[in-house]
Structures are given as structure tokens and as C-alpha cells.
């Protein structure tokens, strides 16, 4: 490249970078603001967050609150995702329990992945779909992540699966 074309390349390069920066910042701020303030969504309403009112009253000795309700021997939990959190959080189940997660996204599409138990499911916006997971037999805390990029806070979107020891009969 001669000096003239090198200068031209640099000018166009800087202009292009400035334009890209502006467009990207604008489009990403749009993604966050247009989806995070859903007026119909009440973050404090347990019914909307999949926590059955009866389940709320169930307190385990550890202080954790079991999620969802047990129907026909299987724990059923409405599990929702929003920018940038999961609900209920933590998701609390018993060790070894079969859990039916009825997953749904409240704003844009998310995904739920629990790497330590090799569980992954997409969370569509329009419908609640079922995903079955078998809780680990080892009690403890297992991090939950969003598997579909959902905006600038995606990397920080985390939840927790808390596995409690199975109660003795």
C-alpha cells in the first residue's frame, strides 16, 4: 500500500469502527430495555415464578424452600427465565428426585444448562415446555447457566440448583 491508500484505509477503518460501535451499543441497549420491563410481569408474585403457594409454606430444615409440587411422585416446577435471572432461584429439589421442569422464557429466548449433571433445555417464549431432569444423588449446590445468548448480561445470568438430602421415611 502506498501512503495515499494507506491513509485512505485508516480513515475508512476508523469511520467503520465508530459506526459499528454506535450501532452495536444502540442495538444492545435496545435488546435490554425493550425486554426487561414487562409490565405484566410481577417479580414478586410466586405464582408467576412457578412457586406453588403450598410449596412456599414447605420449609426444609436447611432453610431452603422446596420448589414446585409433587404430582404422581414427580416434582413439577414452573421454571422461568428473564433477562438476566432464573425463577425460582434457587431451584430446590431432593437428591435423586425426578423433576419435571416446565420451562418458559418471560422476555426473549433463553436456555437452561446445568453442566455438572449434563442437563440442557431451550426455554421458548410463547409456550411452556416440559423437560425432565433427574436430580443428582449427591446433595449440594449446582450452578445453572443460560445457554442462549440473551443480551449484555448473559455472561452473568446464573442460577442455582440446590439438592437437599432425601428425607428419611
Amino acid at each position: 500500500m502506498d501512503d495515499k491508500s494507506d491513509f485512505r484505509y485508516r480513515v475508512f477503518g476508523v469511520l467503520g469502527l465508530t459506526l459499528l460501535l454506535g450501532i452495536t451499543l444502540l442495538s444492545n441497549s435496545y435488546v435490554v430495555h425493550s425486554h426487561s420491563n414487562d409490565p405484566d410481569h410481577d417479580h414478586g408474585d410466586p405464582a408467576q415464578h412457578g412457586q406453588d403457594v403450598k410449596a412456599q409454606e414447605l420449609k426444609d430444615a436447611s432453610g431452603y424452600q422446596l420448589s414446585g409440587t409433587v404430582i404422581n411422585g414427580r416434582r413439577v416446577v414452573d421454571y422461568d427465565a428473564f433477562q438476566y435471572y432464573f425463577s425460582p432461584d434457587p431451584l430446590v429439589v431432593y437428591a435423586g428426585e425426578e423433576v419435571e421442569l416446565k420451562v418458559k422464557s418471560g422476555d426473549i429466548e433463553h436456555g437452561v444448562v446445568i453442566p455438572e449433571i449434563d442437563f440442557s433445555a431451550k426455554m421458548p417464549v410463547d409456550e411452556r415446555v416440559s423437560a425432565i431432569l433427574t436430580a443428582p444423588t449427591k446433595p449440594g449446590e449446582y450452578p445453572v447457566f443460560c445457554s442462549i445468548y440473551c443480551g449484555s448480561g448473559h455472561g452473568d445470568m446464573k442460577g442455582m440448583l440446590v439438592v437437599l438430602p432425601k428425607p428419611s421415611k
Partner: protein, 251 residues
């Protein structure tokens, strides 16, 4: 000497990636991110040392970059098997899948895609969240080494195709795409150096990744598109070299 090291694009990119990691870790103070980042870097470094035998600064810098990219993309969990496998495959692919002393596939993309077949949804791109930092710092590194045409062509095509396919514009310009285009797409060994070829390479990668994205909604689409383009570039280079050799015989 010190000045020469600081002027090296590889060293500048390493510094930028470290900065991205710091910003990503500081955003929520999650030390698992630091753990996965360091583990990935060490895995790539040691694997490189096994292959290279005698350490040299260029190879070490390359393996550091590969390790950092994998570390910035992988899910920050205490289960390191995915990162371990991705790191080993990435460096091994550089040494095993090579012709005429040149590797064919982008090492980080190769490691992440192959390891991704064994571990589901492990790539969450946590390290690419600092938009301004990426565009300004990495953008100026690319400006200096004259490799900006690829990200520009990639984004131009993504925006255009997203519009044509009815995909929202925001989906074309999300932060993982930015990290992908500014850090991975432009790897010198597996991408073209001539300006016109860079435009074509970036644009085709944009086409493939947008089509794959519209089918899968996953950002692994970018990585798969890059591997496909690496292969196409290799075939193109082989044909061009054969063509040049045949025509050289006439003179």
C-alpha cells in the same frame, strides 16, 4: 527490544484478552470465571509445549491466545473437562491437521466445536461483554495489521441477510458475534491477507453463520461457519497454488 515486544500484534491481543477477562470477572466477581480462564490457558500452554518440544515465544504466544479465547467462551463451572478437552483438541489440531507446515483450522474454534459434541451447551461467551473495549482496542490492532475488512464484511452480510430473512437486527449485532468477528475470524494463519480475499472471506462467513443461526439459534453457528470457511480457504489456496504452478511452467 521492549518496544518491539509491545508493538507485536500478538502481545497486544494477549493484553486485550486479559483486559476482557478482567472486565468479565469484575462484572459479577465470579471466581469460577478466573479458574476456567487460567485452566484453559495452562492446558493450551502445556499441550503446545508437548508438541513443540523446544519452547519459542511465537508458539507460546499463540497457545496463550488460543487458551484465552477458549477460557473466555467456556461456561464458568467447576467441571473443567470441557475446557480441558477443548484446549487439547485446539492445540493438537494445529499440529495434526496441517499441510505445508500450516494449520488449516482456527484452533480455538476447532477445539470448541469438537469438544462441544461431547459436552452440550458449554460455550456461553461470557468474555465478550465489553463492547467498547473490543471495538476500540482490538479494532485498532486489526486496523494496524490491515485485517479490518473481514469483520466489516461479516457484519455487513449479517445485517443484510438478517433483514432479508426477517431475523431481528439485534440478533445480527450481538456481542458474541463481535467477539467472534474481532478475535477469531481474523486469525492470520487461517484467513486471507489480501484485502479483496478478506472481504470475500468475511462476507461468506457472515452468510454461512446467519443461515446456520437462523436454523439453530445458537452462537456455535459462528464457530462452525468459521471452520467451513477455513476449509474453503485451504482448498482455494491449494487450487491457486496448483494453477500458479501450471501457468509458471509455460514461462
Amino acid at each position: 527490544m521492549k518496544n518491539k515486544i509491545l508493538k507485536s500484534p500478538k502481545v497486544q491481543l494477549i493484553a486485550a484478552l486479559v483486559l476482557l477477562a478482567i472486565v468479565g470477572i469484575a462484572s459479577d466477581g465470579d471466581l469460577k470465571k478466573l479458574a476456567v480462564f487460567l485452566f484453559s490457558v495452562l492446558t493450551c500452554l502445556f499441550t503446545e509445549l508437548i508438541f513443540v518440544g523446544k519452547p519459542n515465544s511465537q508458539k507460546i504466544q499463540s497457545s496463550l491466545i488460543t487458551g484465552m479465547i477458549i477460557g473466555l467462551l467456556a461456561i464458568p463451572a467447576y467441571d473443567f473437562w470441557f475446557v480441558y478437552l477443548a484446549g487439547i483438541i485446539a492445540i493438537a489440531s494445529k499440529w495434526i491437521i496441517r499441510i505445508s507446515k500450516q494449520h488449516i483450522f482456527n484452533p480455538a474454534a476447532c477445539g470448541l466445536v469438537i469438544a462441544g459434541y461431547f459436552f452440550i451447551d458449554q460455550v456461553i461467551w461470557w468474555g465478550g461483554s465489553a463492547t467498547a473495549l473490543l471495538i476500540i482496542i482490538v479494532g485498532f490492532i486489526l486496523l494496524n495489521i490491515k485485517r479490518l475488512a473481514m469483520p466489516f464484511a461479516y457484519f455487513g452480510t449479517r445485517v443484510l441477510l438478517s433483514f432479508m430473512l426477517g431475523i431481528s437486527l439485534e440478533s445480527a449485532l450481538l456481542l458474541p458475534n463481535l467477539f467472534f468477528a474481532f478475535v477469531m475470524l481474523v486469525e492470520p494463519k487461517t484467513s486471507p491477507s489480501r484485502q479483496i480475499e478478506q472481504w470475500v472471506f468475511g462476507a461468506l462467513c457472515g452468510v454461512i453463520s446467519t443461515l446456520l443461526f437462523s436454523l439453530t439459534q445458537g452462537f456455535d453457528a459462528d464457530l462452525v461457519a468459521l471452520l467451513m470457511m477455513n476449509l474453503l480457504l485451504f482448498i482455494y489456496r491449494q487450487r491457486k497454488s496448483n494453477y500458479d504452478n501450471i501457468h509458471a511452467d509455460y514461462y
